[in-house]
């Protein structure tokens, strides 16, 4: 083991990588916070992120414009969110199984479309990624500057979305209605608001942000697309939302925890520890389970969580 590699810059680099690796999970978790607050469990997040990753990559590849990739990814995510809305709100089916179906569909469709667009190639197609844009002044702050202010623009967007989501959820009429729909849909219905419409809206927000989270991988982190590129991040995002007890600010800490686990795993590999890489790769998934167990006892799920609403039912 190369202990001398563990220097101050190494640790700061690890922290900065934690933030970057947390971002895809953070986008998806923020969206899922809205969805779950409205009383819908969207376990299709993994499939939606995969479709977002594909759409982002294809959009950027074809147009050469990264922002068009972002837009296409969010549109695709929205469409997938609407599909989940059809299943859970309109057809009122079991949300766990519907989410699973959407994940399988997203995984298959993203692989199929990628193959149909690019065929089989010896070298995979690549795109130019979003560049790092240090924020003048702020990026010079020791440690914190490197951690939070020396990234690409999508990272900043994710960090800004945290307070925005908080304000929307707690300080607007829409946020109030959304939270009420998750607790007592009958009460919201009596007040003349449409339960279905609010739940569809929550899935549009959740789908668009999950699509963006997926697209972050090819557009701002890897420059490539491959089958199952999200590697379980959608499921991890759902765990983060439970961990965060449906709060956007706590979702940031949750996402950072998993980003940290992934960064740690990567940097431990560079240290050439006598631990096989396969075992280090397990780390984020083990942490997800442990964290879920610790928080689930205290978690108070929204009152009407995962229950379809039909007027006139008790």
């Amino acid at each position: 083991m190369n202990v001398e590699l563990i220097t101050f810059p190494f640790i700061v680099g690890l922290l900065a990588a934690s933030v970057r690796l947390a971002v895809p999970i953070l986008f998806a978790a923020l969206g899922e916070t809205f969805t779950e607050r409205a009383g819908i469990l969207n376990l299709g997040l993994e499939g939606i992120m995969l479709m977002g990753a594909l759409a982002g990559f294809v959009g950027a590849y074809l147009t050469g414009n990264l922002w068009l990739g972002v837009a296409l990814a969010m549109l695709t995510g929205t469409a997938m969110g609407l599909l989940m809305g059809f299943m859970s709100v309109t057809a009122k089916v079991n949300q766990v199984v519907a989410g699973l179906g959407i994940t399988i569909l997203g995984a298959g469709l993203s692989t199929l479309l990628f193959r149909q667009f690019f065929g089989l190639r010896s070298t995979p197609p690549t795109i130019e990624m979003f560049l790092t844009q240090p924020i003048p002044g702020l990026s010079r702050i020791p440690v914190l500057g490197e951690m939070f202010f020396n990234h690409n623009i999508l990272v900043y967007l994710a960090l800004i979305l945290v307070p925005v989501a908080w304000v929307v959820l707690y300080r607007t009429r829409f946020g109030l209605a959304l939270r009420a729909v998750g607790e007592r849909p009958d009460a919201v219905d009596t007040r003349g608001l449409s339960v279905d419409r609010l739940r569809y809206l929550s899935l549009i927000i959740g789908g668009a942000l999950a699509g963006l989270g997926g697209a972050f991988l090819p557009l701002a982190s890897l420059g490539l697309f491959w089958t199952q590129i999200t590697a379980g991040r959608g499921f991890i995002a759902v765990a983060v939302v439970v961990f965060a007890r449906w709060d956007p600010v706590r979702a940031l800490w949750g996402a950072l925890l998993f980003g940290g686990a992934m960064a740690l795993q990567l940097s431990l590999q560079t240290l050439k520890l006598p631990i096989p890489s396969e075992l280090l790769l397990m780390l984020p998934y083990i942490i997800t389970i442990v964290v879920l167990v610790v928080v689930s006892r205290r978690a108070e799920f929204p009152g009407a969580f995962a229950v379809p609403y039909t007027r006139g039912e008790k």
């Binding site: 699973l100 499921f235 389970i289 879920l292």
Partner: protein
Amino acid sequence: MTTREQVVVLRRSIDWRALWQNIYQAVLSVALSLLIGAVLLAVSGQNPLVAYRSLWSGAFSSVDRFTETLVQATPLLLIAISVSISFRCQIWNIGAEGQMILGGIASIWIALTFAGLPPAILLPLSFIGGALAGALWSLIAGLLKAYAQANEVITTSMLNYIAVYLLAFLVHGPMKDPAGFNFPQSPLIARALELPRLVAGTRLNLSFVIVLLIVVAALLYWRTTLGLRTEIVGASRRVARQIGLSVALTIAVVSAISGALAGVAGWGEMFGLHFRLIEEFARGLGSLGIVVALLGELHPIGMLVAAFLFGSLVVGGNAMERNAGVPFALVDVIQGCIILLVLARGYIFKSRRSTR
């Protein structure tokens, strides 16, 4: 009608009208999914007729192809039975893939470590070891759900990733065949341990018969006290508590049974097909098994038919990729469509019968 209500109906008597409607809607869902796949192919410039013809002949054109369809159906059916027991108890266990991997690892480890034992002892021992390992892996999520309220969809999917990396670690490290030219695979098990072939010259083996026996066992399971208990806890946790059943204990037991069956699926793949640990031997089988379970309405006979259908889709899909150059992912897309259509069939096909 919900699955829960159907469970109750199945126990009473066979409702032929509902059964006919289920079959009709399932067939319609599959047909519509194939149509969606065809449209996708046509849009991306490939001829769907050529693709589907290649898929069909890949699955059914000869005795050899047909036995291969049964070979693929074997683990799918077993995993479907495994998850159906969980699902009927409202435990959304999607960890069959990981449980199957653990079953494969444990059974191969036993066969290699105790190679000195006579096959008549070693083969049953490896079977039991595979079942136990699957049960224990599943029990992790089961106990966490029962006693810590941890969402099983998340824990089982995380356990799947962990199992995949565990398998990769073992075949690249401690269990790697020293004489295997550095390939990521374990040594072969003794020839005497290989399950006998049912048709000479094909890969169809005894594990197919064992799975058929398990189908019968599953039919009987729902007539036992434990089966009834599974159903009651699945139908309503509240009612179960009121009549004095331990919900947590039932969840743990059901998880263990499910896991054991998935573990046996891993054993069957090892001793019937591969004879050694290889990476990715379970890849995709977990989710496919869930689709089979749902399409089969969680009923053993329904799942038998669905497993056969999906076995043919997998074999045909591979042939389609080889012969017509159509990506196998098309089969995944069709699967996803089938799940969603089967789920929403009551709404989409405008059932005349009231849904509640």
